[in-house]
Amino acid sequence: MAEFTDALFSIFFVETLINGLLLGGVLALLSLGLNLVFGVVDVVWICYAEIIMLGMYTIYFLHVDAGIPVIIAAGCGIAVTTILGLLVHRIVIHYLLDAAPINQLLATGGLLFFLQGSAMVAFGIEFRNLGVSLGSLIVSEDIYLSWTRILCFVLAAGSVGVLYVFLSRSYLGAAIRAISQDREIMPLMGVDTKKLYLLTSAIGGALAGLAAALLALQYDVHPFIGLSFGPITFMICVMGGLGNMVGGFLAAFIFSELITIGGYFADLEWGYVLAFVVFIATMFVRPEGLFARKS
């Protein structure tokens, strides 16, 4: 017991909490795009993480092979995923808008394997590293915080803020909030729902690109990278109440703190186990998500 309390009041525990917070920023950004698309189009992009994977490859090849500065490569990556978002909607989702939810899931799930398989054929299975390191912020002799993670957190929090202002202040943002509440009457408001879907899919794609840029700084790119954060992104959205962006934002931090705290007391893998156990327990108690609105 004394060992436990010692650990709890240790300086390393503070570092763990901060790292959890920083990880939460990235997870929040990941869940944001998925939640936005679901809220508006009412379809879950199961292949969301694979779009991010293609964004990471774009950044990798442009920076490492073509020698383009990493910040410009990141911009191109965002452009590519924006276009991918538009294509996913126009080529697949558009035809399934009135289909049964299970068919929509299967279609975007199929797209996941298509994108993963295509990446494997095109790029091979080797792990590729962007080779960009931002170093660490040395807080004290014992505490190091990765600049990459800090940057990720700041950018993630910044994009959440920008999206919030867009949703709450602009006409288009109001329409995006409105369409998730009543789709059928949108034409009466003069809203072209087809255009709004495309716009949302483009924003969802752009957010995937931003996530790709931040993840490429921290992780190697390979065709299966989507599997390591696709499921967790989806679970965060579900835990926060699918389509509820504020809920997803908070759930991201709950998840990240559970992962890092679990990792602090045992191994990082146990952190994930802890997070998923809490997730499953949540689903029993509140199947509609922690922050679901009462309807």
């Binding site: 006409y171 409105a178 509440q181 059928e184 009457i185 034409p187 009466l188 408001m189 809203v191 072209d192």
Partner: protein
């Protein structure tokens, strides 16, 4: 102003309207009355493009409504207050009103129109930051009418504005309609509450089983023995 000629419409294989013709002249208030399932809501929906017509023509000031995409119909000056109000329940009153002004051609006049609605319904100004879904039924109806008025329409079409409201509130809703008429707006209203609606409109059509059975001025219809027997339980 708004003319329907031989309109046929329905859902899939089910036809709800058969050769419906009617017209609403500028400055007039016209009611379409009839029992449940007569096709009244279908009529409203086909006018504002929520469902396509099987045939016939609808024109607004000589421009074809049926050939206009649904989201552009509000731009022709037709604003629709849907059945059951259909507010965005988890948005504030002011955000709901803002949605009524969504089309780019209306946005310049947002502040002016908002002031107009707030003057017409001071209660909405008091409730501006409240979630629309938390208001009483009568207030929600005000908000729904206000939302439609944000686009400064030439004609307001209302689908059963008194449905699902307590009798006292129904009275208030008809007072609202009179107030809107006072602003010189043209109104087409669909109602089951025959006795009340005939007091606020100039003319009315009786719709039964998807066909127009009768038409006349409000006074004629109020005095008609058939109407009294069929709709007013006298």
């Amino acid at each position: 102003m708004l003319t329907l000629s031989q309109v046929n419409a329905g859902y899939g294989d089910f036809q709800a309207l058969f050769d419906v013709s009617l017209d609403v002249r500028s400055g007039e208030a016209v009611a379409v009355i009839g029992p449940n399932g007569a096709g009244k809501s279908t009529l409203m929906r086909v006018i504002s493009g929520m469902i396509p017509a099987f045939g016939g023509s609808i024109t607004m000031q000589d421009v074809s409504v049926l050939d206009t995409p649904a989201h552009q119909i509000v731009g022709m000056g037709i604003a629709h207050v849907p059945e059951n109000r259909r507010l965005f329940a988890r948005m504030t009153v002011e955000d709901n009103l803002r949605m009524g002004c969504f089309s780019p051609q209306f946005r310049d006049r947002y502040t002016e129109r908002l002031e107009f609605v707030y003057q017409l319904f001071p209660r909405m100004r008091e409730r501006r930051d409240q979630m629309a879904g938390t208001m009483s039924g009568g207030e929600q109806q005000m908000c729904a009418i206000g939302r439609a008025l944000m686009s400064d329409p030439k004609i307001l079409i209302m689908d059963e504005p008194s449905a699902g409201l307590a009798p006292v509130i129904v009275q208030q809703v008809f007072e609202l309609i009179e107030r809107i008429r006072g602003e010189g707006l043209t109104v087409l209203i669909v109602e089951q509450n025959v006795k009340q609606v005939l007091k606020v409109v100039d003319r009315a059509y009786i719709l039964e089983a998807g066909t127009i059975r009768m038409e006349g001025t409000a006074t004629e219809l109020l005095e008609s023995a058939d109407i009294q027997k069929a709709f007013m339980g006298m």
